[in-house]
């Protein structure tokens, strides 16, 4: 260790120093470490670049696209459901309006029928009433005549019973005059 002028000897010294201290500072295996590190880096780089990253990137993009598609499809279905609901509501409202119209129409028709029936019944009733009134008048007239007859007969009988004699004509005139009075 006296002659440290040659490079080999210097390396030897450094080696011994490293052996006593930090193995990291021993330059005798630097070349080895660097070589194998470069090999490792190159291997990892090309494995990633050529095989792994395109594959993983593709998978991720695929998944992203799938999720976006699914979301879009879900949105579409939602819109469809909304429009279906709207159509249903529209149809319901329309049906309701139709039903209301039919009800009103039917009501009007019934009212009309009813009015016609009432009018018809009224005329029939009026006719019946008029007929009845006529009959009553007839009956009443009939009754009057019968009363006149009875009165004449009674008066004639009375006169005969009291011993008088009177001709039928004068009795009738007297009774008629009395009846009027």
């Amino acid at each position: 260790m006296t002659a440290t002028t040659t490079p080999e000897a210097a390396t030897e010294v450094a080696h011994e120093a490293a052996a006593a201290g930090m193995p990291q500072l021993d330059p005798s295996h630097f070349a080895n470490q660097i070589f194998w590190l470069v090999v490792t880096l190159v291997v990892i780089f090309f494995v990633l670049k050529l095989i792994a990253l395109p594959r993983i990137g593709g998978t991720l993009a695929n998944r992203k696209g799938m999720i976006l598609n699914d979301l879009a499809a879900a949105e579409e279905f939602k819109q469809k459901a909304l429009s279906a609901e709207k159509a249903y509501n529209d149809a319901l409202a329309q049906a309701r309006a139709e039903a209301g119209k039919i009800v009103a129409q039917t009501k009007a028709e019934i009212q009309q029928d009813l009015n016609a029936a009432i009018a018809k019944a009224d005329t029939q009733i009026a006719a019946k009433a008029a007929e009845s009134a006529q009959r009553i008048d007839e009956i009443r007239a009939g009754a009057q005549e019968a009363i006149n007859e009875v009165a004449k007969d009674t008066a004639k009988e009375l006169v005969a019973a009291l011993g008088g004699s009177a001709d039928a004509r004068s009795i009738t005139a007297a009774v008629t005059a009395r009846m009027k009075g």
Binding site: A20, Q24, F35, L37, T40, I51, M66
Partner: protein
């Protein structure tokens, strides 16, 4: 040093032994191609990346399987980071950034397995990463903007007489970036592992002396706590390294902050 440690009541303090690089097969000098413990753990990182990101994503399921969702989580996390920091045109550099993130994060996490080796605890490794990012970003800046890239150092909004001073400071801080970038990572990982090892060295004290009745449980609790902290540090340091890479990338894509 080893003999000193042995003399201390039989406790063995070798907190830095775990960082030694040694050939996996046989003895002898470490050539550049020798397979060492460091090599194995680095290659395991690559194997893990393949397992999670290639085999895990092979199903391409719409509803991801567990491993697939880990890969997609990592993809999304780093992709969002790159796009948020650098903008849409930075997405081109996403594979590079993800490579860095995965290498560091997985190496940190694998390094936390008992008996394993953390390549990121070595400055030789992190310096390659840090200076690699520095070189890449600087060349990219010049390629994209030519000498306008240097306008990054010339604060046109500052008073004229301050501009040279600011430019000098900016220039120095620019060149310090890779140093801090790499030392921060290696330092954090190394310190955590060394601290765990120090506490671990105290754990067998109960076999030797009565103090152990107190010290051993304490050291075990401390190891657990530090280990939990280290899990967080492993991820945070990978995140910090990655987001700083994104920030440097943004400076290269948009010098002058716009």
């Amino acid at each position: 040093m080893a003999s000193e440690a042995q003399s201390e009541g039989g406790l063995a303090f070798h907190p830095l032994q775990q960082f030694e690089v040694h050939p996996l097969f046989g003895e002898g000098p470490i050539h550049w191609y020798t397979i060492t413990n460091s090599t194995v753990w680095l290659l395991l990182v690559a194997v893990l990346v393949v397992a999670i990101f290639v085999l895990g994503s092979a199903g391409r399921k719409l509803v991801p399987s567990r491993i697939q969702s880990i890969g997609e989580l990592g993809y999304d996390f780093v992709h969002n980071m790159v796009v948020d920091v650098t903008g849409e045109e930075g997405a081109k550099y996403f594979p590079i950034v993800l490579t860095l993130f995965l290498t560091i994060a997985l190496s940190n996490m694998l390094g936390l397995l008992p008996g394993s080796f953390a390549p990121t605890s070595h400055i030789a490794v992190t310096a390659v990463l840090g200076f690699g990012v520095f070189l890449f970003v600087t060349l990219l800046g010049f390629y994209k903007h030519g000498f306008h890239f240097l306008g990054m150092f010339w604060m046109s909004s500052a008073p004229l007489f301050l501009r040279p001073v600011i430019a000098l400071i900016e220039l120095i801080s620019y060149f310090v970036r890779p140093v801090s970038h790499s030392i921060r990572l290696a330092g954090n990982i190394m310190a955590g592992h060394a601290v765990i090892k120090v506490f671990a060295a105290f754990a067998p004290l109960v076999l030797i002396s009565g103090f152990g009745l107190v010290v051993t449980p304490l050291s075990i609790v401390a190891i657990t706590a530090i280990y939990a902290l280290e899990v967080v540090v492993a991820i945070i340091q990978a995140y910090v390294f990655t987001i700083l890479t994104c920030v440097y990338l943004r400076d290269a894509l948009h010098p002058g902050g716009h």
